[in-house]
């Protein structure tokens, strides 16, 4: 009976796992307490086993007061500051000093901290699935490596993903020196191969274009979802938003165009967007190039596309040296070459676009998976060490990969999870989470940041540096010593300026990055070879649907597939969770007789997958889009995830487009898991959008008097009055704020079954509004609690659980709440969330039937935020714990709170700084000034709720000639 699924017991038992048992809470706390004692002494070795009470309190540590340590996320290369409560890392913030972060992070980085405490992360060392010890492994493996070393490495192979650590790169280099016959392979499932190859064609060496969106006045994104890039997206979004701030009746706006198949955060943030299938994008690039004398004359095949092209070409031409054309990773190398040539011809290269060397040159020089498989079958590999990648999952042909692993004598897998590859290997060695490990990571712009541990390895993991040192026969194996040695050598080479090594090292650890490590851009000098002739370059029109693959913005290549926060984080635009789907345009959906949730079968390259379809207005006709990164086989909290892996559809790891695939309806239907079903614009009387010209013509703010209230007016012009303003011009819908809110406020995960029942728990959501046109505009609206001054939730609560405080916050008193849910039924914004079940209780712990030992996940909780029980309503608090902490500090100092001193979690993480928070009683505060902006509006202001959270309308800089099919069309409703 389906109803049985509703029971708590059942929900818990479905979370039952066979995975290894983690350390008990007691042990974890012991370990972390010890770590806290030592980690503040930056530079010393990882702590030893002894647990003693503090005799001397570590410097700077006050129990109950969090400490922040600089580190770096190895996936993004962006510097982070990690908040640690008495030795427990609980929250990740961006490092303001790091050029790729500037204080923000992407959504996925917010969830990294969950992985640290994941009770189902693989543990210690296993041999064929049985628990053994690192000592056993070393004893067994050392003799093996010694044998290899005697044959100068013959038969030894190492497979890695992109190597972003300088220490690891150095270790691998020295290993190659001592064992020249050892084979090193690279496998990066989401690769920039075409981008690098395109640059190699244009400039003679592989490079990655880095557009400076703060300098560009005209930007064209060609299938480039730049804002979702883990390594650079945060910086690009910040730069982009810097040119889209409408303040005080003025605005120095760029104009952005996007040509893409699927509606992405980047495309939706542009002023104009043209939906074309992949082949159409190629045509567009060639046609644009032709306008600037590159390649033969060409045009588009439809009137809107031609007009779009004319406008883009005219704008780019009128802004030579101040424009940028950006090509995405899915485009072929040849198009990247064409785009590079356009940018050179327009004088953009070197001014608005820098060309940076790739972080890992090995991706271009070392062999890949195909070679590895051939070598394995040819018997050239005896020992294979796989460092933190899952090739069985992400290989084009998983069975061939599996067979290749079987053909190898001894296989060693080093990773965080017991994934398909780990299970196929002989040895499974638990890797360290980056919050447990020493390393150094290079960002996309070359800046190196030091990764330092905040806790002892909770799962007995081993550092990758230690493992490689073991293979290389290095006498030094402690990861800290290895990383330190790298930098000692480097600093010594650079000379003595900057003081002693110890001083410099301490500063590097404190600041979180090594100054002066940024790349020098390569000179964009065109190689002589012109692009190929017209016949070859103009792609033929293809029949049938083209499939466009792209990485999921959160799970990326699947490396974060085990993360329940990210699985449940609504995808930008579609708001799907826990699954991927095939996006079809309404036209193609009708042609295939497919509607939302209908299952489709995709057949190509000998592989078949089945997944639900979703009809997305704004999707290019002729293009079906699919996200990679789902369907990875990992035991854990996410085993109920319903995503499907699309890696097997690819003929090779660099393919992003598939033609000739057979797509058919299976007849099954599975309702889509999404947190929004209706994408209409909320309030027809208040337009969310205003054109730049209209904005400039707006006079000073005319504040409409809200309707009268029956209840007495509160006197709130004394003391602080908290308010928030969200700039919809800046919001790119990336979801980082939602993830940050989840991490900060102990927001529970509910799982796919509960999502199917419309019970998501996010306190903050990013609503997507689409105009009902054929080429819809997509707008984003983050909706936290409005903290209404006349809150409809307050009078209806019979037990006064929903009350107003003296600073204007609409508080929810959990202890008083009896769960009538009247507040939510009366909330026009529907921002309240109800604990229908005991979501905060730990299902895994119950499954292990150790009720007295709370699981590791409890250590993740922010101690400053109440964990809510069953039957209680909860909602956004404006991060009241941060307000209280700051107020307390100010009171101790005997001063008033300064503007900007309090940052809510959503505000702090926002890559585009779209969220402003502060005291509206202080006329000088940023939030007060924004509230006086002429385009500020209150959502449903006519209801008399007087929300404290208000919005700045989205200002669009539409091109006059495209206005009819662009944003101006929606002005009528304004």
């Amino acid at each position: 009976m389906s109803a049985d699924k509703h029971t708590l017991v059942d929900r818990l038992s479905r979370a039952r796992q066979s995975g290894a048992k983690g350390p008990s809470r007691r042990t974890a706390l012991k370990l972390m307490g010890a770590t806290a004692a030592f980690s503040s002494l930056a530079g010393c070795v990882p702590p030893r086993e002894e647990i003693v009470p503090y005799v001397d309190m570590p410097e700077g540590m006050v129990p109950g007061t969090p400490l922040f340590y600089a580190s770096v996320s190895p996936t993004t290369g962006c510097g982070v500051l990690v908040e640690s409560h008495d030795g427990r890392p609980t929250k990740i913030e961006g490092n303001p000093d790091h050029p790729m972060s500037l204080g923000a992070t992407d959504a996925a980085s917010q969830a990294d901290v969950l992985d640290l405490y994941d009770p189902l992360r693989t543990e210690a060392v296993h041999r064929d699935g049985d628990l053994t010890s690192w000592g056993d492994f070393v004893a067994s493996f050392r003799t093996r490596v010694r044998a290899h070393r005697e044959q100068s490495g013959q038969g030894l192979a190492i497979l890695t993903g992109a190597v972003r650590s300088l220490t690891l790169a150095g270790q691998l280099d020295s290993l190659s020196e001592t064992m020249p016959e050892a084979a090193i392979y690279r496998h990066e499932p989401i690769s920039d191969a075409a981008t690098r190859a395109g640059a190699a064609r244009s400039f003679g060496e592989p490079a990655l274009p880095f557009p400076h969106l703060d300098r560009a006045e005209i930007v064209l994104f060609l299938d480039a979802n730049l804002f979702a890039e883990p390594t650079t997206g945060v910086r690009h979004a910040r730069d982009f938003a810097a040119r889209r701030r409408a303040r005080g009746g003025a605005g120095d706006f760029n104009r952005a165009y996007a040509v893409e198949s699927e509606t992405t955060t980047t495309g939706a943030s542009c002023d104009h967007r043209l939906a074309l299938p992949p082949s159409g994008i190629d045509r567009f690039a060639h046609a644009l190039a032709a306008r600037f004398g590159i390649g033969p004359e060409a045009g588009m095949d439809s009137d809107p596309a031609d007009r779009f092209l004319d406008q883009v070409a005219a704008d780019l031409d009128g802004h030579r040296g101040r424009g940028a054309v950006v090509a995405g990773r899915g485009l072929p190398a040849e198009i990247h070459d064409v785009v590079n040539r356009i940018n050179v011809a327009l004088g953009n290269a070197g001014t608005t676009i820098s060309y940076l060397p790739p972080v890992d040159p090995g991706l271009d020089t070392l062999p890949g998976l195909a070679q590895l498989q051939d070598d394995a079958f040819a018997g050239r590999i005896d020992s294979l060490v796989i460092l933190d990648c899952d090739p069985i999952y992400s290989a084009p042909d998983p069975e061939r990969m599996r067979a290749a692993l079987e053909a190898v004598d001894v296989t060693v897998h080093h990773g965080l999870y017991l994934d398909a590859t780990a299970k196929a290997c002989d040895w499974q060695i638990a890797a360290r989470h980056f919050l447990e490990d020493w390393s150094d990571v290079q960002a996309a712009d070359g800046t190196v940041a030091i990764c330092q541990p905040l806790t002892r390895p909770l799962k007995g993991g081993r550092s990758v540096h230690e493992l490689v040192a073991l293979m290389a026969g290095d006498a030094v194996t402690a990861p800290h010593d290895l990383v330190r040695r790298t930098w000692q050598n480097r600093f010594e080479q650079e000379g003595a300026d900057g003081g002693s090594f110890q001083e410099r090292w301490r500063k590097v650890l404190h600041d979180g990055l090594v100054p002066g490590t940024g790349f020098t851009p390569i000179a964009p000098e065109l190689a002589p070879a012109p692009p190929a002739s017209s016949d070859a370059s103009m792609p033929p029109k293809t029949d049938g649907l083209e499939i466009a693959l792209s990485p999921d913005p959160f799970l990326w290549d699947g490396r974060r597939a085990a993360n329940a926060w990210l699985q449940e984080l609504p995808r930008p635009v579609t708001r799907l969770v826990w699954q991927n789907a095939m996006f079809l345009s309404p036209h193609d959906g009708a042609a295939l007789d497919v509607s939302d949730g209908d299952m489709v079968r995709v057949k190509t390259n000998g592989a078949t997958i089945e997944l639900p379809a979703t009809v997305q207005p704004g999707q290019a006709v002729g293009a079906a889009s699919l996200h990679l990164g789902f369907g990875r086989e990992i035991a854990g909290q996410v085993q109920n995830a319903q995503g499907v892996s699309a890696f097997s559809l690819r003929p090779d790891t660099d393919t992003w487009r598939l033609t000739g695939a057979k797509i058919s309806k299976t007849g099954d239907h599975r309702p889509l898991l999404r947190t929004q079903h209706d994408f209409d614009t909320p309030d027809a009387r208040t337009s969310e959008i205003v054109s730049l010209a209209d904005y400039r013509a707006l006079g000073p703010k005319e504040r409409e008097e809200p309707p009268e209230s029956l209840y007495p007016e509160r006197l709130d012009d004394e003391g602080y009055a908290w308010a928030m303003v969200i700039d919809q011009s800046a919001c790119i819908g990336c979801g980082a704020c939602v993830a940050a809110c989840q991490a900060e406020n102990n927001v529970p995960v509910v799982g796919p079954e509960e999502i199917a029942r419309n019970r998501d728990m996010h306190w903050l959501r990013v609503d997507v509004h689409q105009t009902p046109d054929e080429t819809p505009e997509t707008r984003f609206q983050p909706v936290p609690c409005m903290q209404c001054e006349k809150a409809p939730c307050e009078p209806v609560c019979p037990v006064e659980a929903s009350v107003h405080d003296h600073e204007g916050l609409n508080d929810q008193v959990y202890n008083r709440c009896i769960g009538t849910r009247f507040c939510q039924s009366n909330c026009p914004y529907k921002v309240r969330r109800f604990n229908f079940f005991d979501y905060a209780g730990d299902p895994i712990q119950e499954a292990e039937q150790t009720p007295t030992e709370p699981s590791l996940l409890q250590a993740l909780k922010n101690p400053d935020v109440t964990v809510r029980g069953r039957g209680v309503m909860e909602k956004c608090t404006y991060c009241v714990q941060r307000i209280s902490a700051a107020r307390r500090d100010a009171k101790v100092d005997g001063r008033a709170l300064a503007d900007g001193e309090i940052k809510t979690a959503c505000q702090a993480v926002c890559p585009t700084q779209a969220i402003t928070f502060g005291d509206k009683n202080d006329p000088g505060s940023a939030v007060s000034q924004l509230r006086e902006e002429p385009h500020e509006y209150a959502l449903f202001g006519h209801l008399g709720t007087r929300p404290r959270t208000t919005y700045l309308k989205r200002v669009v800089n539409a091109a006059p000639d495209l206005a009819s099919d662009g944003h101006d069309g929606s002005e009528e409703s304004g």
């Binding site: 994408f679 909320p682 037990v799 849910r821 009247f822 039924s825 026009p828 529907k830 079940f837 209801l943």
Partner: protein, 454 residues
Amino acid sequence: MTTAADSSLHAAEPGSAPVVADRGLSRDVSDVVLERPTSRAWLIWALASLALTMVFAYAILHLFIAGVGIWGVNTSVVWGLALTNYVWWIGIGNAGTLISSMLYLTRQDWRSSINRFAEAMTLFAALIAGLFPILHLGRPWLFAWLVPYPTTMGLPPNFNSPLVWDFFAIAVYLIVSLTFWYIGAVPDFATLRDRARLRRQQVFYGILALGWRGSAGHWRRYERAYILIAALATPLVVSVHSVVGLDFAASVAPGWNEPIYPPYFVVGAMYSGFAMVVVLAAIIRSAFNLHAYITERHFDLMGKMMLFGALVLGYSYAMESFIGWYSAEDMHLSIVVYKATGDYWWVFWSLIACNVVIPQALWFPAARRRILPLVVIAILINIGMWLERYGIIVFTLSHGHMPSGRADYMPTVWDWALTIGSLGFFLLLFLVLVRLVPIVSMHEMRKLLRGRVQ
């Protein structure tokens, strides 16, 4: 069950008093309680309703263990069948007191043969209705926080909240209804005491009769008390359902925030209450052979009341839609259109059919005086009124101001278990009652037979 043939046996002219002797009346009625053995039919019905009551109890137990998540409620539609049932049951509970008090005050003598079980129906329905708001809570064990007792928290309930009004309305209504019912039954308990032959019956009814000897002084005080409570109960009938209407009307939600709600809820409650009385009257009349006391005239008059209800409700529905359009508020118009054409269009059109269209048959005397069509119409009205309350909750909550917050609602098996179970519980209480208490007010019937004494 009742058939059309039953009524023809005891044909009586509408408007005339029942043609039975005084002695025969006391025997006919009290024998049901005192003498007749437990019938097979009663046993079967009792067992069936007991089974449903067990379902009800299990659904509640599981609810307390697992939480309200077992229901279909979600983040948008936070209320579901629990509150639908609450409003429906409290509506059913409306008619008994209305019949007793309002018709008593207006000297409508025909009420005498139906008021006793109609009042009992009120009591049980209000009792069950009162359970639902408690079951509906996320933390039901804390429901007492709605009561203004001196707590250590020092925090009285929030008197701004319609839910607190609700609490008082239901509590007062229950107390007054119980008092009214009991006072009205005291002379009959005395009759039972006097007629009882078994010792335990004599003691049981003797205690209940409170020493009633039927003296003129007793009757004088009885009449005063009864008319006083009737006068008290009548405004309560109006207030209790007005307050239920205010639960919705005092919000900002589109489709709820309408001043027509309180009167419209009162009429709706009366309507469904009368429909339930018709069903119960038909069953009791047939089961205990009380054709002489519950006559076709009663059905005819109740049919007219139902017709009145149908017309007023039809008017209310029309006004709701009209105001939705006339207000020129986008959201109000949107919800009007959504009701008729949205995801739950079938709920809307079914309730219109059941509550407004089909009851128009009651214009024809044949439909009012024949039991079968009347009972069918009454059952349809009860279904229609249930759907109306379902619609009130689901239409608005699944189509709120925020498009992104719109979601469907689908009741689960636990929702239905509680709904069906509550019907079984009601039936069980009723079946037990008819074995313990005279189902027709004997003393009032006697009075009716002898002409009004005053």
